[in-house]
């Protein structure tokens, strides 16, 4: 890494400010255009007549927003027009050598989403509950976000963690047992963190101490945790489900007044403590990584461990600490399954959320805030499928479920800008 930087920088001295300029590729504009074309094609080939009704309020709100009733096809096409405008803007910007502004992308995404929803909900006898759509997304993204935060911490320290899935599952399993035995969701939560840390320690032992390839360790750890939890589930939990597998769940804590704000209230301010903690955690992880001594050292160890070593930082210990911290964070996500979502453990109940979290880490470019937003997006996609199946949407549910993975594929293929992982990510450190 250093060597290449050195060579690159020596040659022309003018190379200094080059990174700031960086090349603008037409990829983004092309991608936006292609997606828009697909969307328009959908409208043309499968036009849905009728009205779409968006319900924006619940009964408890301070004031009731009217249910929005719009002509579906017209709305969809208006949204397409907005999308087209953004594409045009992207092309113009691109020719001028500039990037598509963030607000453009957001507007584009929002327009296409609304248009798509209008199209999908057209003529449905039921209202499409926007509140349900959003609050469901927030709930569904919880394990993904915690898992992704854990992943970000680990990878920032240079340890790739494919075993997020295993950590979530181990956390869910332990939280179920301890939560049931103690009748306390808090004890369950704590136990989940401990279990997830144990998985992290095994990962650390092999990846850091024994320098085994981290992808292999991660993959195998997942299988191990699936095997262990499933084995113990049938052998231990099922025979005595009353005692060992019936938890008390965290109750929702509505925040007075705020919860009654239309739309936002039910989505953000009537959730369990685990969800509130998630919002805090996203910020906390960001702050810890970028503003504290701990974070500086973690990032140094993930970028250039030898440099860290030569200034007296213990690389191995720093990595272990990061991995353990990451495990604890991911463990909270695991607890979500058995002390927040439902009150018992089931075989392989995490169902790939750990891999979506991994995807969120990459989609979020190893940044905790971006990764959390990616997790939210994926949660949204999953919930969109749930909501659409209620409305009776014509889109097969499997394609909606596929969405996070396809989006991530597009992301790693470079359609959302080239992301640069920590330089020593996945590379074990060998001390001289």
């Amino acid at each position: 890494m250093t060597a290449t930087t050195v060579d690159g920088a020596t040659a022309p001295q003018a190379a200094a400010p080059s990174r700031a300029v960086s090349t603008v590729t037409p990829k983004a504009a092309i991608a936006l255009g292609v997606v828009l074309a697909l969307y328009a094609l959908l409208l043309l080939l499968a036009p849905h007549e009728g009205d779409a009704r968006f319900r924006l309020s619940t009964e408890r709100d301070l004031f009731v927003l009217p249910t929005l009733e719009v002509p579906a096809l017209a709305t969809a096409w208006v949204c397409a027009a907005i999308g087209l405008a953004v594409v045009a803007l992207a092309v113009v910007r691109n020719l001028g050598g500039r990037r598509v502004p963030l607000w453009g992308t957001v507007l584009y995404a929002a327009a296409l989403l609304v248009g798509f929803l209008a199209w999908a909900a057209a003529g449905s006898p039921r209202d499409l509950s926007v509140v349900g759509l959003l609050s469901g997304a927030v709930v569904l993204c919880v394990p993904i976000v915690y898992g992704a935060l854990g992943g970000v911490i680990g990878e920032r320290a240079g340890v790739v963690n494919i075993a997020i899935e295993g950590q979530l599952l181990a956390g869910a399993f332990t939280a179920a047992i301890v939560g049931s035995l103690t009748n306390s969701p808090w004890a369950g939560l704590l136990a989940a963190m401990v279990a997830s840390v144990l998985v992290a320690l095994v990962l650390g032992l092999f990846a850091i101490t024994y320098k085994v390839n981290q992808i292999i360790v991660g993959v195998v750890l997942n299988v191990l945790v699936i095997g262990l939890t499933s084995f113990l589930y049938s052998q231990v939990l099922v025979p005595s489900a009353e005692v060992l597998n019936t938890t008390t769940r965290f109750a929702r804590i509505p925040i007075p007044f705020l919860e009654r704000i239309p739309l936002l209230g039910p989505v953000l301010f009537n959730q369990t403590i685990v969800v509130y903690l998630m919002f805090v955690m996203v910020f906390a992880v960001w702050f810890a990584l970028y503003r504290t001594r701990w974070g500086l050292r973690v990032r140094a160890v993930g970028e250039h461990p030898k440099a860290a070593d030569t200034v007296g930082i213990d690389v191995v210990r720093t990595r272990y600490r990061a991995v353990v911290t990451a495990g604890a964070v991911a463990g909270i996500g695991g607890a979500f399954y058995t002390v927040v979502s439902i009150n018992q453990f089931n075989r392989e109940m995490t169902a790939g959320a750990g891999f979506i979290a991994l995807a969120a880490v990459i989609f979020g470019k190893w940044n905790p805030v971006r990764a959390a937003l990616a997790g939210l997006l994926f949660g949204f996609a999953t919930n969109l499928q749930n909501v659409l199946s209620v409305v009776g949407s014509p889109v097969p549910s499997q394609f909606m479920l596929m969405l996070p993975y396809v989006v991530t594929l597009l992301a790693v293929a470079g359609l959302v800008g080239r992301s640069r992982p920590p330089a020593a990510d996945g590379v074990p450190y060998t001390k001289e």
Partner: protein, 506 residues
């Protein structure tokens, strides 16, 4: 602070890398540690810096015995080190790099970046560095990165500063500036250990010189000693780096390069409009400080840079835009600069490496199947011809020494039907015996009427091998001159100053 090393001994198995080395560095003194590659200088400094533990001997600071278990201990004791390969995190800012490891924090471990910026500004001001504390290190030129390393050491109140081959990546001017900084530090009372193998620099800046050879101190010298005296101390015998070769007999075949441009992924020119011609039967040495586009030039000759523009004609045929495979087939032999990275597959056997770029047809592949007997016969023959010291042709090439690895690369390339030989740093990291052999083979190739391009950053080698020397600076050609050109002129050219007329060429 006074640094004293007493009887430091470091063994690696039966090999003694440092053999009872004594060294005293007084405060306010630049003490130069002079020795060939592999003499044991870096080992000694790694012991001093706590990276290795000495088997015997003591490290004393102001007459107190120290015990270092790691770099942290050495730093705490007041030893700072500027490593040959910079120990900076590229994506961190200057201030972050400087504070790393001894961060000043506010309550709760929150970084106090302001104080770090202040430290950078204060030290920069003291020494007249122009370093922006908020610049990303990866955006800075090498010379500035080195200053960040120095700031890093000074911010920890280093009283002893070790500079390990600090000039290897610098241009002559940057080197001169660094020497100014060293003198300034010395005048402030810092004890400086300056590790190098370059005689000119030693004589220019050192107060005292200790020469190391084969892990032992072989003598002290004063800066007034002549090059010849220092050199003979260093190598222990009279050095003679001449290559015996006849006057060139030029053929009609030639490599013609016109307006070659190679750009980096972010659009910066690395090779900037280079033109030259090499006729069959002559050696053109491309000289210059490392990192001025020589590497990219050789890579472009093999078609490794898709961004290459301009014209490269070999025997009249254009090869820009051709695939590597087709360029190899056109008869280009290529000895890469970094043989372990680009030239060899370490886990493959010698035999496999010898056919690495010849697996697209007979004699080693027939019908998609490897011809193991042909391969092994060929390998045995080449191992003998090129005097590769090995236990057998089935030894993984990674197990060989640098010189023997290079012979494998040469054997592979020279045994093909060549129309051009490109050799980048062919003798880097190679023992003396092998250097001579490699030089002979290169000259023999030339005498067979093949155009040869050699890249070398060692002026001695350039002068010895070349029929003509082309000096590059910042991606451009400063000039192409006969090998009889005086060294001071060549030195100026390497700093970008063209001989005689134009002045600044870049």
């Amino acid at each position: 602070m006074r640094l004293e090393l007493r009887g430091i001994t470091k063994r690696f198995g039966a090999l003694v890398a440092n053999d009872h080395i004594d060294l005293v560095v007084e405060p306010g003194e630049i003490h130069s540690l002079l020795g060939e590659n592999g003499a044991g200088k870096s080992t000694l400094m790694n012991v001093l810096y706590g990276l290795y533990t000495a088997d015997e001997g003591q490290i004393l600071l102001d007459d107190e015995v120290q015990r270092f278990d790691g770099p942290g201990d050495a730093m705490a004791a007041g030893i700072g080190m500027v490593h040959q390969h910079f120990m900076l995190v590229p994506v961190f800012t200057v201030a972050e790099n400087v504070m790393l490891g001894h961060e000043s924090t506010r309550a709760g471990g929150v970084l106090d970046l302001d104080s770090a910026r202040e430290v950078v500004r204060e030290i920069s001001a003291r020494f007249g560095f122009h370093v922006d504390p908020d610049a990303l290190v990866e955006d800075l030129p090498v010379g500035v990165q080195q200053r960040v390393e120095i700031i890093k050491a000074l911010s920890r109140n280093a009283d002893v500063l070790v500079l390990d081959e600090p000039t290897a990546v610098l241009t002559p001017q940057e080197t001169d500036e660094l020497m100014g900084i060293m003198r300034q530090l010395r005048d402030e009372g810092v004890a400086i250990v300056f590790i190098t193998h370059k005689l000119r620099e030693v004589r220019a800046v050192a107060d005292r010189i200790t020469v190391i050879r084969h892990g032992r101190v072989v003598g002290e010298a004063s800066p007034t000693a002549t090059d010849a005296e220092l050199a003979s101390l260093m190598v222990g015998r009279a050095v003679e780096l001449t290559v015996h070769k006849e006057t060139p007999r030029l053929g009609d075949n030639a490599l013609e390069v016109r307006d070659l441009v190679v750009t980096s992924p972010d659009g910066q020119p690395l090779v900037d409009g280079v033109s030259f011609t090499v006729r069959g039967g002559e050696v053109l040495v491309v000289a210059g400080v490392q990192g001025n586009g020589q590497t990219e030039l050789t890579e472009a000759l093999l078609g490794l840079h898709e961004s290459a523009r301009g014209s490269i004609r070999l025997d009249g045929h254009e090869i820009v835009g051709r695939s590597v495979r087709r360029i190899l087939d056109a008869g280009v032999g290529f000895v890469p600069e970094d043989r372990t990275e680009d030239g060899l597959v370490a886990e493959f056997t010698i035999a496999e490496n010898l056919i690495l770029n010849r697996t697209d047809g007979p004699p080693f592949v027939r019908g998609g199947s490897l011809q193991l007997d042909a391969r092994d016969d060929f390998a045995r023959e080449k191992v003998a011809e090129f005097d590769v010291r090995t236990q057998g042709i089935d030894v993984p090439v990674g197990r060989l020494s640098g010189g023997n690895q290079q012979k494998v690369v040469l054997a592979r390339e020279l045994s093909r039907d060549l129309r051009l030989l490109v050799a980048a740093q062919p003798t880097r990291g190679v023992d003396v015996g092998s250097i001579e052999f490699i030089h002979k083979r290169i000259v023999a190739t030339r005498d067979a009427g093949i155009p040869v391009v050699v890249v070398s950053t060692e002026l001695d080698e350039a002068v010895a091998l070349a029929d003509r020397i082309m000096v590059m600076y910042r991606g451009k050609v400063v000039g192409i001159v006969p090998s009889t050109t005086p060294r001071d002129v060549l030195g100026l050219m390497m700093a970008g100053i063209a001989p005689e007329t134009e002045g600044e060429a870049a």
